[in-house]
Amino acid sequence: MKRLIARSLLLSMFGMLPVSPARAQRQTSPETLIRNATVLTVTRGTLENTDVLLRNGKIAGVGKNLNASANARIIDGTGKFVMPGIIDCHSHSMLDTINEGTLAVTSMVRTEDVMNPTDVDLYRELAGGVTTLNLLHGSANPIGGLNTVVKIKYGRPASEFLFPGAMPGIKFALGENVKQSSRPNQPGVQRRYPNTRMGVEEVIRDAFTRARDYKRTWDEYRAAAGKNKDLMPPKRDLQLEPLVEILEGKRYVHAHCYIASEILMLINLADEFGFKIKTFQHALEGYKVAKEIAAHGAGASIFADSWGYKIEAYDAIPYNAAIMTRAGVVVSMNSDSDERARRLNIEAAKAMHWGGLTEEQALKLVTLNPAIQLGIQERVGSIEVGKDADIAIWNGHPFSVYSRVDTTFIDGVVYFDRQQDLARRPELAKERAALEQAEPNKPPAQGQSPQRPGRRRPSHEDGIEEEMPR
């Protein structure tokens, strides 16, 4: 019973915190001055005893002895660290559904359609200093759905999460997940094409060939429709339209991949059709083809030291980030996990240990570099005047496992505050107790829990199942 209470308390603490009195106030952005903190600017080094001023949702000042207006909130930053909000370039948080795996090409589906702004993982990510997510479709098919870049405005409607001006993107995937190699053959069940890496390449080539034809058909129709109004319009195809945007350079490709050969395959294919791959996601063997990735102008978004979980993930090394960074690849560390997303700071720190990146290089892995990969580097990713006030205050250096986040701001508004969270826990426990007593939450029958049926075992005498005595 004690355990039950403890667990229900825990759940109520981390359970659901969206409806708070703060909800209504969050739209306005108050002025905040953080005084005398250590500021990890990412682009301009680490500044000691420095103030950061947040005003109108932007970073309005970084320097010593800044002045704020009379009604500004002043936070004493002595002993604290201010860091740009962490950007997770590979997330599936807040998605009601991740894969549309029935077809090999599902560029018509959009993660934006299935966002759940009340997903509690979002709150936990805010508590880890994360402010921006790249919500990707899963890796079930060669060409997956459209991604969505969001700011974690937990408690606000989904439409307010959308990152303004972020480049539209799409998920591609190569290798084992796509060819379904871990799915055994079932008699009578037709496997979805493709089943090999060759087939994956063919599917992508075929899709872009169709997209090219589609664009030509529409161009011809638009040219001729002015003269002839009896011309039948071509079909609008939501599957091919995003691929046309890729060909026109208006949409970023984020390609899930593991091994060196498939990375080269996709670079060659993209060159053939004249488009760019923006990021190789996971890219565990990226270090083998780092020069080629850099030459193509692609980035890589990887894990620090997670591998060996399937055949194509064996030939990995923890020096991946360092090697690729030195080859000129823009590298980021992502989570691909609602759990790991809470501690991306530590993932970045590992690159200092494995491969000896500088502190600034390591910080970039979870801030400026993912910003570049998502086309939002003018807005976020570093602490500079004029950028969005998306920052986190840490109680120690974020590369220490002992540090944690005190406060997380997005557009200058507090979305996580450790003290507020602690203060609200008794209130939530009280609410739970009251709700448990409400009529619709009462168990159907009063009194004891119903008896569970006894285990059944076959009787050897007559083959009839009989009840075991309890």
Binding site: G15, T102, V109, P443, P444
Partner: protein, 553 residues
Amino acid sequence: MPKVRSRLIVGLLALTLAPFIPNSNTNAQRSAIDTYAITNARIVTVSGPVIERGTVVIRNGLIAAAGANVNAPPDARVIDGNGLTVYPGLIDAYTDLALPEASPAPSPGGGGGFFAAPPPRPVGGPNSTQPVGLQPEVMVEDVIRPGGNEIESARNIGITTALTSPRTGIWMGQSALINLSGDTPQAMIVRSPVAMHVGFTPLRGTYPGSLMGVFATLRQMMLDAQRYRDSMQIYERNPRGIRRPDTDRSLAALVPVIEGRMPVVMLVNSEREITRALDLASEFKLRLIVAGGRESDRVAERLAKQNVPVLLSLNLPRRTTAALPEADPEPLRVLRERVEAQQTAGKLAKAGVRFAFQSGSLTDMSELMVNARRVIENGLPAADAVRAFTIWPAQILGVESQLGSIEAGKIANLTVTRGDLFDRNSRVAHVFIDGRPVDLRPAAGGPSRSSLSGTWIVNVNLGQGDKAITLNLQQEGDRLAGAISGPLGAGEISNASVAGGGEVRFTVVFNVEGQTKEASFAGRLANNEIRGSVTIVGAAPGTFTATRSGQPN
């Protein structure tokens, strides 16, 4: 005088024809009398003030007169209304009444016999370009059948009229508003088609297999319908010299929808589902009606502004199983949801959102009035509750000149109770449908369909030993919602559905091998246990077994 004669002739005709009309079980003795008067009754007209003591006259299927100073005509069969209250016949604004049963379970004793093998619900149209579940051309009108226990138990609590539509598929088809009596489908129909119905449950094993795909499919088909309409117009203007476009009944059925001539009923309950429906409707300028609407109060402002009505389900969520020590505690969200669902109607009324009540696949119709009472106790004025069963659904469904109030000239659907409709001790004394009294019988048996609702302990085996997670399910007809919690993560299920024969499917987001992955469950319910397989992209498939924690309600 001529009027009387013509009525006499109609009466005689009916008598002569009577032997040729197939005898239905429900209306064994049909009466030739078509004039009734309920005298000295309290009359809740809904359109005007309550008449404390008055008479309602029914003639030829219509309300002939109602008022304090109305006298019973000499040819009328008089019902003494002392102590009775007359209401307009109650309307259930979303049901699947009169539709053939989906499950393959044959009816005991081979009863019915209308169709040799009952076709699955939804019924696929012949020569459709689309798979079952994506056929907007399906007309409920073509498949309804009179009679049956479900219709009878709805009438027993005073329901006279129902909007009926299948609840499976994505484009579910076009609904009909039916009176719950009549010997033929044709006689039941008040209006058809009423609306296009849309659900967001993915298809099984084929595209669209996810909620994302459902949205993409809805968009693509509406775009195709726009092009279909434009192409047909171009072709019909001057067919010579133009290659003939293929005809397509699915796309043709969507043309009135995209032109805003036919409303679209979307089945959505949570705040985000309703928001998505509103967004989709805005994108294509659809005339949206929300059905379900459990959290519609949270978007009340937008619903009122965009004039979107709600067919609000009275299938209120409640805890169906007792707590067991090994189950994870219920999330705060679930506890809140159950309490707040009772307050939705009151909040909608305050915010000025138009709404109507519907039974929401309640398995036990006797709970409908219990839940209506609960909603009134939680802030809905009782007079509004009456409106939400009468004039409001009539207005939303476009039949306010025929139904929804007691006024001369309207269809004589009346619900007569002893005691106030929502009083715990009241009972339905008489029900008139199309001017005829309906036999009221005690409900036969309990709920007929089993429900998956409740808490399940799911043992998942992904090749590294069992992991036990807790699964909370809420079943509403063929729709399934719920949430998981436990060592593999916590969150709501999606893409969930249950089909006839107990085939259950849903997906959840898991943390496996350090990555957030989607796990698709497919299993079968047998002996109060669900067994099946788990598939995860990029991982070997696993198995699961779910057992109930506690007993079903």
